[in-house]
Structures are given as C-alpha cells and as structure tokens.
C-alpha cells in the first residue's frame, strides 16, 4: 500500500485556509486509497517552518510522499489542475468548493 503524506501550510484561520482545507477533504482525501497523513502547519504560529520550507505564499499544499514532492499553491479551487498535478484524475470525488460559491455563502 502506498503511503500518502501531505503538509498543508496555512496562515491563520481565515477564509482562504478554511476553503483550502475543505477542498482538500472533498477533493483529495477521498481519492487516496488507504487514507493519508495530513499535517497542517499554521505559519502565523510557526513562522520558522515557513522559512525552513520556503513558503512564500499560502495556502501551500506539499505532497511529501509519494515522491516526487509536489507543491500546489492556492485554495485548491481549480480542481482539474489540482487533480492533474497529483495524478488523481477520476470522477468519484465530491464537487469542489470554489471561491465564487464560498463568497455567495458568506453573504
């Protein structure tokens, strides 16, 4: 069984971070057989982690395992691009929460 290890760098609990984590749960997690390990790093609390991993912009998703390492920037609302990068193209996941929709919800 392949190991799936991800780190998500976020900055505080703002809209971008919430949307990014929700998109991860809906889009990526269900597609990973055998589940995955996700570490969430709040760089506002642990800025040294941002320096160490050269996180310039957030949210930043890093796939540590399997190799090669993949870094995806943004709230993952561009689902096709995300799945393409991670090689998870299929039709079995939930729909993606886009920034447009979340903007409607927040009203």
């Amino acid at each position: 069984m392949e190991k799936h290890v991800y780190t998500f760098f976020i900055a505080g609990g703002g809209e971008l971070a919430i949307r990014a984590l929700a998109n991860f749960d809906r889009l990526i997690r269900p597609r990973l057989e055998g589940g995955c390990t996700l570490t969430v790093v709040d760089i506002l609390k642990e800025p040294r982690q941002a320096r160490e991993h050269r996180v310039v912009a957030t949210p930043m998703l890093v796939r540590e395992q399997p190799l090669p390492m993949i870094r995806i920037l943004g709230d993952l609302s561009q689902s096709a691009k995300v799945l393409d990068q991670l090689g998870l193209t299929g039709n079995d996941g939930d729909s993606v929460l886009s920034s447009a929709r979340s903007a409607e919800e927040s009203r």
Partner: protein, 490 residues
C-alpha cells in the same frame, strides 16, 4: 484629532553609502518604505546589498534581506569581491537572508496571498531586532506568481505591515526604459514614500551611471541626477552640482605663501588656505613652473602636497623641478610630496573624482596641484566637465586643501580657452600668464585678474625663469591687450 497631535516628525536614517546622505539631505526616511528602481544592470541589487551591509557594519543595525530573484548563495558571492562577508553576519545574528526566490515546482490552483513571506519577515525582524528590511526585487514576484491583482493587493499589505512594525524598508523594482514610467507594473511607486532611480546609459561610447531621488515625501532633497561609480569599496555617488548649491564650506582668512614674495604681494598678502587658484596661459609660458613653485613652498614648510600630472610624466616633473633648483625626489622620499601622473583618458570623470578624493583622504595634503585641468576637458562633454570641476572644487574647499589648477590656452597668443570659460566662475582666483612682445623680443607677463575676498595688484608684471625658478619683475607699462592676445609694448 488627538491622534494627529501625536504624529511624529520625519526622521532620517543615514545609509552609509558614499554621497547618498548629501544628495538626499540626510539619508533614508526612517520607518518608511523606499523604492529603488532601475533598468536591468543598473546596480539595484548591489545598492540594496550595500544599504544592508552599511546598516550592519557602520551603524550596528540588524537587517533582513528578502530575495525574490537571486539565490542567497549568489547574493553572498556577488559581494565577496568587495570583501563584504555576509555569512559571518548571518552567524552573528546581525543578518537574516530569506530565500523567496522562484520555486519552479510550485503550481497555482486557486486563491492565495503572501502571508507566507509576510510572516517570515515578521519573525525574522523579531528574531534579530532588525531595523532595516530589503526586498529584492518586486519584479521577480510578478514572474513567480500569475495573478497581478493579488500581488498588487499583497504588496500594499506588506508595506503597511512593515510600516506598522516600524522598520525602514527598501524595495527594488525593474524599469524597462531609462526615462519612462517609474516602474513596470505601475503600482510600487504609490506605496513608497521615497523613490530612488538608478540609471545607466551609453553616452559617446562611455557608460554613465547616475542616481536620482525622484521623490522623498515630506522632506527636502536634491532632485537632479548625480553620477556614481561602483568602486572597490562599493557605491560612490559624486554630488557634483550639489556642491555648488551648498556653499557651506568654511571660509578662513588664513593666508599662505604662494612660494614667491613678489607674487604674495601682488595677491594682497598671499593665498587663502581654502581657495582654488587657476593659472591660465599658452603652452611653454610657465604654468608648470608656477605649479612647482607653489608645491615646493609646501614642502619647504614641512607640509604635504599632492601633485596630479595629466600632461607630463613623473620623470619629466622631477627634471623640470630640478632645473629650477627644487629637489622633488628628496621631498617625495620625505613623504611631503606625492606625484600621481595619469593619462586623462585612463578613466571617466567619475573615476577621476573618486581617485582624487581617495588620494586626498589618504595623503591629507595641505596643497594640491592639478596640471592641467584643460587636459581633462577632452574626456567628456562640456557639461560633465563643468560638473567635474565643481565637484572637485567643492571637495578641496571642504577639505581646506589650497589648490592650484593650470589651464592651457588654445593658442600661443593666449585667449580664453573652453576650460577658462567654464570654470572661471568656480575658482577663487585667476592668474593669466602671457607672452609679451617687446621690441621684437618675447618676454613673459603675469597678471592676477581675480582674487575673491581680497584686494590685489591689477598690474601686468614681467617675469622671467632662471635656475632659481620664478622671478617677478616690474610691471609693464602700456599693455593694451594683455587678456586677448599677444601684448605689445610700445
């Protein structure tokens, strides 16, 4: 309203870059953002790095370098030849380099902001108690990230944040043209309180680098372009025309001897220590003799003199002096005389000014001879030549180095040379040397036509040159055209 009463006045932070305090009238604006713009290759990164280095080494201020463009290793390597040891400063916790350079593995997929780098900067500033943050360069950010809208908003957020933290910050940004929009993306200048433009242009096959303070919100500064060079010690801005505007050089009433009692009498009791004297005359008329007389007097008194020769070589100068009974070799060995001979074309005006300033600062002479200033005239445009003379004159006066410049007239009969026309208002005293035709025989004449701040003899004196040097004789009578051509005595 109470908040407004608490507004603190603008404070300035010296940069430590040679000449920058002078042209900015005090340095960077403390606690605010300065934008440094220039085309590719104009020296932005080096300028930014020097700001940082000077802050740490000259003023004991810790600093953070955020690099969006080059790798930290490249930044360290770039300044190694200047002997700026950045790795040691990092170890000593005086410097943090944040690597925000392009990461090609990153793919964008959705909304984001620059919280990553903002929190890294905040953390680094706190870690070492930094006072200065340098960001190089914003243009590279626009290459790294696809969405310029997000970047504009985030750059504003970043600069606001830096200001809230109370640190002074410097951002660099690219321009596409030397004279056009301030920055490529047209946003950065609005977030900055101070905008500095670096330019480099090719003029008559020579590179001319200039710096201009385009904007400095809320305080005075010079608005012109000033030339600069990049030397072995970093930037060197030459505040040439600024020296003229600011006539703050201390003025003394101390008189010193020219080296000839008769000449001192003609000058109303000698030369002023902080003055610049121009000797103008046709070739062979005795300019080098005058310069030698003036230089020898310093050595005779045990004072140092710097002799800059642009027409004759060292051996020629020594031989000339010897024929007039002056032993230049002896004085040079005694450390009283320093002769520096160079072709005018060896470097540009900026290079010459810098070299002369360095010689003066190291040798600390009480007198300077520049023989001849007209030889330098041909290495650049008239405007730059004039700036060069103004800058040099301002410097020697500030340093209280009594200076003698010689200038060659274009023809044997004298007349006003280009040099004279452009620098006569800058020098304090002007002495003309002329051939005089007397009963079919040529003799030489000397007249002081200007002596700032003093009475002086206005007569045209005959002089001769013998193995003891200069001998000034009686005034001529009836010389109708001394200034304009060969004078004939009836």
């Amino acid at each position: 309203m109470n908040q407004l009463l608490d507004v603190a006045p603008i404070r300035r932070m010296p940069s430590g870059i040679r000449g920058f305090e002078h042209i900015s009238l005090g340095g960077l604006v403390e606690g605010r953002n300065t934008l440094l713009v220039g085309t590719s290759g104009s020296g932005k990164t080096l300028f930014a790095t020097e700001l940082l280095y000077r802050a740490m080494t000259d003023f004991g201020r810790q600093a953070v370098f955020v690099t969006f463009e080059e790798k930290p290793a490249d930044i360290v390597r770039n300044v190694q030849r200047l002997n700026w040891d950045l790795p040691t400063l990092v170890l000593e916790k005086k410097l943090v380099i944040l690597d925000a350079s392009l990461d090609r593995t990153v793919v964008e997929a959705g909304g984001y902001d620059l919280s990553g780098i903002i929190s890294q900067i905040t953390d680094a500033v706190k870690e070492i108690d930094a006072k200065l943050v340098v960001l190089d360069s914003l243009g590279a950010l626009f290459y790294q990230f696809e969405n310029p809208g997000i970047l504009r908003r985030e750059i504003l957020r970043l600069t606001d944040h830096l200001q809230e933290m109370g640190v002074t910050s410097v951002m660099t940004a690219e321009r596409l043209e030397e004279y056009g929009p301030v920055t490529r993306y047209g946003i950065e200048e609005f977030v900055s309180d101070c905008v500095v433009v670096l330019r480099h242009q090719l003029i008559e096959e020579k590179v001319r680098r200039t710096i201009q303070i385009y904007k400095l919100r809320g305080d005075r500064h010079y608005k012109d372009e000033f030339p600069f060079t990049i030397e072995s010690e970093g930037f060197c801005i030459l505040p040439l025309s600024a020296a003229e505007l600011e006539l703050t050089q201390a003025s003394t009433a101390d008189r010193i001897s020219f080296g000839n009692a008769k000449f001192d009498a003609m000058a109303g009791g000698g030369l002023f220590q902080d003055s610049v004297i121009l000797f103008s005359g046709p070739t062979g008329c005795g300019k080098t003799l005058m310069a030698t007389t003036f230089a020898s007097e310093a050595c005779r008194r045990g004072e140092r003199v710097l002799y800059l020769g642009y027409e004759e070589s060292r051996p020629q100068l020594v031989r000339n002096a010897g024929s007039w009974g002056r032993d230049f070799m002896k004085w040079e060995r005694a450390g009283l005389l320093k002769m520096v001979c160079q072709y005018p074309e060896a470097q540009g005006f900026e290079g010459h000014v810098y070299a002369i300033q360095r010689e003066i600062e190291q040798f600390r002479p009480s007198r300077l001879v520049l023989d001849s200033i007209s030889a330098l005239e041909r290495i650049g445009s008239v405007r730059h030549f004039r700036e060069f003379v103004i800058g040099l004159t301002g410097f020697v006066k500030q340093q209280q180095v009594c200076s003698l410049f010689t200038s060659s007239s274009p023809s044997l009969s004298g007349g006003i040379s280009i040099t004279d026309a452009h620098i006569s208002t800058i020098t304090d005293a002007i002495v003309l040397l002329r051939y005089v035709e007397q009963n079919g025989k040529l003799s030489r004449g000397v007249i002081i036509i200007k002596m700032r701040g003093s009475e002086h003899d206005k007569q045209f004196h005959e002089y001769s040159i013998n193995n003891q040097g200069l001998e000034i004789g009686k005034p001529f009578v009836h010389v109708p055209t001394a200034l304009l051509g060969i004078a004939s005595v009836s």
